[in-house]
Each structure stands twice: as C-alpha cells, then as structure tokens.
Symmetry: C2
Subunit: 501 residues, 2 copies
C-alpha cells in the first residue's frame, strides 16, 4: 500500500467511527430517546462532532492529502483510494477557506435559527424568523465568497456541494424545459382532477395494520431485514451506520392510507441504495450514495415510477384490500391507481404529487438564485414566494406557515439543496428509460418479482457508492449524460394515459 495512504488510514477510520456514532445518536434521537434527554445528549454529540472535525482537518492529514493529490503518488493508488482522496479534497475545499471561528459561530447560529424557524412556523409569523434567516444568508454568502474560484458564481459553490454535476446553466436549462412542458400539462390535468375520486384514502386506517403492511411493502421492494431495521418518527427518514446496518423510519396517520405506504417505499429506495454499496467501500469516505440527486433518484424510482404503477400493485392490491376491506372492498385497482396518481397544484412541497413537485422546486431555486446574486430584502420573501406560486401554480398561500415557512432547509443554511430533489426524479426517469430497453420491467412487476430490478440497480449504480458522480453513472448506464427529455416524456406519457388527454 502507498505509504502516505497507510498513514492517512487511521485518521479516516477515526473519522468514520465518530461519524457512525453521530448517525446512531441522530437515529436514536428521532426514533427513541426520551423527552428530557436532548440537552444532555447534545453535549455528547457536540464533542463527537468536534472530534470528527479534528480527525479530518488537521496538519497531518493536510500534508498527507497534498502528497496524495500529487500525480506521481496517484499512480500508486487503487481506484477506491483515488476516489477517497478526491472526496477528502472536497471536504478540505469546503472547510479550509472558512475561518474556524466563523464556522463555529455559523453552526451556533444555525442551531438557534432552526429553532426560531420551528417556532415562527408554528406561530405563522415569518417576521419572527426573518432576522435569523438574514444572518444565515449573510454567512452562507460570505462562505461561498471564500470558496468561489474562476468564473463560478457563489450560488454554484453551494449547488455543487449537493450535486457536483449541476451548476446554474444546467439547472436553468432543465427547469426551463419543465416550465415549458410540465406547467401546461399540469393545467390540463387540473381541469380533469375533479373527476378522480380519492375519498377512500382519508377513511380510518388502523395504525398497527398500516405498520404491518408497510413492513411487507419494504421487504417486497427489496429492503433486507438482515441488514436493516424499521423505526417510527415524526418525519420519515433513512440513516445508515454502514452497508450492513441501514435503518428507515416512517410516520403513520390514521386518516391517510397513502402517506406511510409511499414514504416507506421511498425510504426503502434510499435504504436499498446504501445496502447494496460494495463491502469494499463501506466505512470509507466513498461508502455512501454518489450524491443527493442520485440518492433521490433511487427513492423516487421506487416510490413513483415503480410504486405508483399498475403493474406494481397488480399482485399485491388484493392483499391491501384484505387488510382494509371496510374501506377498500369497492375500490377497484384502476380506481386506486388513479387515486394515488391524482395531480393538482398544491401549496405544500412534501405533500405534492409527482407532476406538480418540480414546480415547487423551481420556485425555491429561483428564489435562492436571486438571494445569492441580487440584493433581495429578506422581508420581501413572503411576497416573492406567494407571487411565484400564483404565477406557476395558479394558487396563493393564505399564510406563512403553508408558504415561505414550510421547509426547514433555509433555517439551517441549506441553500442549493432543493434542486437535487428535482434532479433526482429526472435522473430516475432517464435510468428507467434505459431499463425498459433491457428488461421487461412490467412483466417482472406483475409477477411480483422485483429482484431483477434491484440487481440491475445494484450492479450498475449502487455498488459503486460515491466512486462515480451522477453524470459518470448516467453515461455508463444509459450512454449519455443527464438528459431531461426522458423525464418530460415519462410525465407526459403517464399523465396522458391516466387522464385520457
């Protein structure tokens, strides 16, 4: 082994162990920890986080990284080691140029800001949150400024943190296409949406039975219970300790059948990705998904493309009806499929259907872009937000809670994150188009055999972890880099068919 890499290894291992511990505390906090624990446990997590940073960012590692980035040393490295060095280089690029005291001050601010956001959302008062958001934006602008190189724009620095293949140019092109094709489609669909009955979804659904059915769904799509467990929390999420321990958590509502089911399929998609990363990569810096966008591609592939299709439900819909005969015995499979694909403009991103979802993202993207390139007053954000919802969706939020305050991301300074959701769905469509060429997906689904799908994704995407980026994966799998046409076609075909347009 390369002698510099050998010296680097213990630092990486230590960082991995501390990161895994932080992940376990995060899982535990969301799913189990008692009410009073937080104040004391946060002291523990704070120390572990500091130690994590120290184990990666220090003079020894800095010197080793420099050496290992050298072309001559690179010849000595395995592909995985090269990918690890690249990833470590990104971490240094993100953190090195920011003065540690500013970074610490920002983290403290973010923690306060997120609490102020939660309170302001509850109280429906954007004004209470605005001063904190203002400071958060100022910090993020300053940090992005430190990191800007060449002809990149500050906002792009942030975008690349979540999805390195998508800058402003790529996203503008992508979102223009959506505006051109999907907004008119949504309008057409909306006119017909009233003809679709979904009242069955809001009847009384026993929680215990939901849990059992969701557990079944998770295993059905490919979640491996030898390598994972299922929990319960206020918001669904996925958390991995390594590829042999990947956890998903779901939320159950008595008066909504869909919510927990599709969250479970969605999180299972994330989990299947992490579970199928190669053993040789797990517990390294590249032992996780390639990017936010690629992760979201997996979860949305399972949730929407597979999970909301007729072929998927054909073998298992009867089981659902038998679970809730009192609510579903008169609801045909066709009726159910139209119900779970009902689309219409809406105010809340996380509850949006597949068709209106990207519009929610475009609105956030456009506002973020403005924030980082123009002098927008934070106080004007609710008005800007509401105007865009009216323009693109034809509806206006009646208050801040269901408008500008609905998402937590900005309160933490997570600017540049939202676009990766939309990118993910489009990436999923592109992969799906390719899969249709090489395997009879619908046949498999009708047989209840999802193994070939899981194996395909494992062999072409999952096993590589973060050793390739989104465009490299897309190129290797589909023969071309990102191409939004597949997404547009997928949505047009699907909704024309469902709505007889």
């Amino acid at each position: 082994m390369n002698k510099y890499f050998e010296k680097l290894q213990p630092y990486l291992d230590k960082a991995m162990a501390l990161q895994t511990a932080r992940n376990l505390f995060e899982w535990d906090d969301q799913t189990l920890a008692p009410f009073e624990a937080a104040d004391y446990t946060s002291k523990v997590v704070g120390i572990l986080s500091d130690e994590y940073m120290k184990s990666l960012i220090n003079d020894d590692v800095r010197k080793l990284l420099k050496k290992l980035q050298d072309e001559k040393e690179q010849e000595d490295l395995t592909d995985t080691q090269k990918a690890i060095i690249k990833e470590l280089g990104k971490t240094y690029e993100q953190l090195e140029s920011i003065p540690p005291e500013e970074y610490r001050a920002f983290n403290e601010l973010a923690s306060v800001s997120s609490r102020k956001w939660a309170k302001a959302k509850k109280d429906n008062k954007f004004d209470d949150f605005a001063p904190y958001l203002k400071q958060v934006i100022e910090y993020k602008k300053k940090f992005a400024g430190y990191r800007v190189k060449g002809d990149k724009k500050p906002y792009e620095v942030l975008l690349y943190d979540y999805e390195e293949c998508f800058g402003i140019k790529e996203l503008d092109t992508f979102f223009d296409k959506i505006k051109e094709d999907i907004i008119p489609l949504l309008k057409e669909v909306t006119k017909k949406a009233e003809t679709i009955d979904k009242s069955y979804n809001y009847k009384n659904y026993d929680i215990q039975k939901q849990k059992e059915f969701c557990r079944f769904l998770s295993g059905y799509v490919g979640f491996d219970f030898n390598r994972g467990v299922i929990g319960e929390s206020a918001h669904p999420f996925t958390m991995q300790l390594h590829n042999h321990d990947v956890r998903i958590s779901d939320r159950y509502m008595e008066d909504n059948l869909e919510s927990a089911m599709f969250s479970m399929i969605h999180e299972s998609g994330h989990a299947i990705y992490e579970m199928n990363i190669d053993d040789s990569l797990t517990q390294t810096l590249v032992g996780t998904g390639a990017s936010m966008g690629m992760h979201e591609a997996q979860s949305r592939f399972y949730e929407n493309i597979i999970g909301r299709s007729t072929a998927f439900w054909e073998p298992i819909y009867e089981k659902l009806v038998e679970t809730y005969p009192e609510n579903l015995k008169d609801i045909s499979l066709d009726h159910f499929i139209r119900g779970i694909n009902k689309a219409a403009p809406s105010l809340i991103r996380t509850e949006a259907d597949e068709l209106s979802y990207p519009i929610h993202i475009i609105i956030r993207y456009e506002i973020e872009k403005m924030l980082f390139s123009e002098d927008v007053a934070v106080e004007d954000l609710p008005q800007i937000w509401n105007k865009k919802y009216q323009e693109y969706m034809g509806i206006t939020p009646s208050d801040d809670t269901t408008g500008i305050l609905q998402d937590t991301h900005w309160s933490w300074g997570e600017f540049g994150y939202f676009p990766s959701y939309a990118v993910g769905t489009a990436v999923a469509s592109q992969i799906y188009a390719q899969m249709l060429e090489v395997m009879p997906i619908d046949e498999y689904l009708k047989q209840g055999n999802l193994t070939p799908i899981k194996e395909y994704l494992r062999d072409y995407i999952h096993k590589y972890g973060a050793t390739k980026n989104t465009n490299q994966i897309l190129k290797d799998v589909t023969g071309e880099e990102f191409n939004a046409e597949h997404y547009i076609k997928y949505l047009k075909d699907k909704y024309s068919r469902l709505y007889d347009l």
Copy 2:
C-alpha cells in the same frame, strides 16, 4: 476553578462522550441492531474504545492527576472534584501497571473466550472452553499480581474493582453467616415447598399484555418515562447515557408470568438509581451508582423486598387478575404471594429464589478464591462445582450447561464480580431495616404510593452518585457500616412467616 482541574476537564468530557457513545452502541446492539451489523459495527466500537482509553490514559492527564492528588491542590477542589480525582486515580491504578500490549492482548482473548464460552454452553462441552478460561485466568492473575500492594491478596485486587468495601475477610465473615443460618433455613423451607402451588405461573400469558403490564409496573415503582425508555432483548439489562436518559430492556416468555415482571421491577430499581443521581454529577466520572453492590442493592430492594411483598401487590393484584382472568381468577392474592416467594434449592443462579440465591454466590466465590490462591486445574472445575452444589444445595447439575458453564462472567475475566450480587441484597436489607424505623413502608405500599420510598432513596443514596462508597452511604443512612445481621433477620422473618415455620 483550580487551574489543573480546568485543564483536565476537556479530557474528562471527551472520555464521557466516547463512553456515552459506547453505551448507546451497546444498548442498540442488544435491543435493535440488525443481524448482520455486528462485524462492521464492532470496528466502530473498537475505535471508540481505543479513543476512550487514549483520552483518559495519556501523559497530560497523568501529570494533571499527580498534581491534583497533591494535598495542597486538593484544598482548592470542590467535593465533587475530589471524588472525580479519586475515581480517576482508581482508573490509573487499574490500568497503569499493566503493559498496554498485554492489556490489548487480554481484551482480544476475552472477546474470543466469550464466544467460545457461548458455543461450549450451547454444546454442553466444558472441555472446549477450558483452554480459553485457563488463559483468561492466567492473565487476570498476572494483572492482579502487577497491582497487588501491601498485604492484599491478588483476588482482593479484583474484588475491590467491583466493591471497594469488601475484601476476603469481610466476605468470609458475611458468607459464613449465610452458611450458618440460611442453609439450614433453606432445608426447612424445602421440605414444605411442595405444599405451595405455582402452576398458575406457567400457563399461557399473552406477550403484548405482559409488555403493557410490565410498563405499568415500571412506572408504578418510579421509572420516569420522560427520562427513560423501555426496550426488549435476549437478557434484561439497564443502560444509561446520563441521568436524563436511562433505558431498561426486558425479556418476555409466553409460558412464564413472573419472569418479565420481576425483571422489570429489578431493572427499574437500577434505573431509578441512575435517574436520581444529581444533575451536578451526571456526565462526570462519579455520575453513576456508587458500586456494583450498591446498584444491586437498589434493584433487589425493589424486586424482592418491595416487589414480592403482600403490601405491594394489594392495590394492584386485581389489575393483574383482570389482565389474565383466564389464568388468575381463582388465584387469591395470598396464593400468588406464596407462589412468587416459593423457595427451593436450584441449579441456575439467574432463576434462583431469594433464599437460595446467596448460596449460588458462595459457591462461585469459593471457587474464585481457590483459583487465585491455590493451584487448581481448570479441568477439575466442573467436578469442584458439582461437589459444592451437592454439599450446599443437595443437588448436582446433570451437565455443564446447567452447571459450570451457566454464567458468562468468567469468560470475560470478570472474577470478583459475583460477590457484589450477594452484598447488594444484604445492603438492601440493612437500608430497609432503617427505612422501617422512619416511615410506614407497608402503609405507603397499600396506598399505592411509592413516592416517599423513591424520595427517601433519592435523598439519602441516589443523588450522591459515586461520591461516597458503600460503607460511607450505609454509615450515613443507617448509622453503622455493613452489617449482615439485618439480611439474616429479614430472610428468617419473611420465610418463617410465609412457611409457618
């Protein structure tokens, strides 16, 4: 604040954070983690353990400890800080004299040995385990040898690790009394045990209902659900992250009503101790129970002294009957109380009744003492074990699994641990005798009001954490140091009454 202590603080905080993380991983491993996780997670826990050791045992801390042990510096310290320095001194005494490479080699051996033990127990083959046990004993002898000072014996060095107030002399005196008084009592009781019917206990008891009733019991005795959660595992245990997050785990069997209930009360006793340690001590080296013996005193006080009394069950037995009317409607409270206190010689320590329990401990203590002072061949242990069971209990194990192999402790090198169980019960009796003097315990129990009991234990014992040792606590609470007479009297009174002797 003392400048040396101020410098020491970050090392202590780091060790605390790492220890808390290890505790969470341990809890998670036993209650939740998926089947395949262990191999990968153990790498994480190994690194966290190394870091824990490094944060406490290093040149900086060693120098600071030396300074702070100096009489002049001690004047500057608060009582809590003094106790922390004393505790840190103990850690150094335990580990400093052992060469690190031997310590590491031993830990690796212990890990292998415990797995060999589990397999040997399953296969009922002591011979497969003997070579590992032999090595473990050799290491422990060597380590104890390094640490022996003055006229102490090597075995005492180990005993003091678990209970610093009890050496060989104290334990010999204590156990001689038990042999003299309790073995004859057990014989008398055994003759009458057949007249006591306990068949109701082994009927079918729905697990979900057991869980609900056990949860009720836990809260009833004083477990605070704002500061703790309940889990499920192969063996009941208690694990704290700090005094605001204390977790208990129980095991449920469909054909045994008692097992989960009394385990739950027992673990709740441990948890109540940890939950009521003062906020100023938690997350420090003295922010836990005073000793193994004092901890076991709390759990057994709740489980046996309180939990198996008529007064305890009077207000809640009806609730239990209503939970399982099919099994209990014809079982009177008196019948039930005699059932849960049925005593007879037995082979398995963990399933033993209150009366025969200390005999199990005496056998182990006598064997451990022999191992560390005489040249006992490990191969002869099963025979020695069986002979002692015959001598003290009048019964002989039919195989290794229910004999010499039943406990895991020795496979980990935990010699000197067992006596603390017996000490704990005796300490509980002594505290109970004092409490009877100052409060109407039975009246409180009959009213279903356990708060005064919890508050007494909190104010006189729990809140002090490990700032006092067992004898200091006993002296402060009861006016005298450890006195086994209370225990003998408690057992004699109780069993004479129950069995009409």
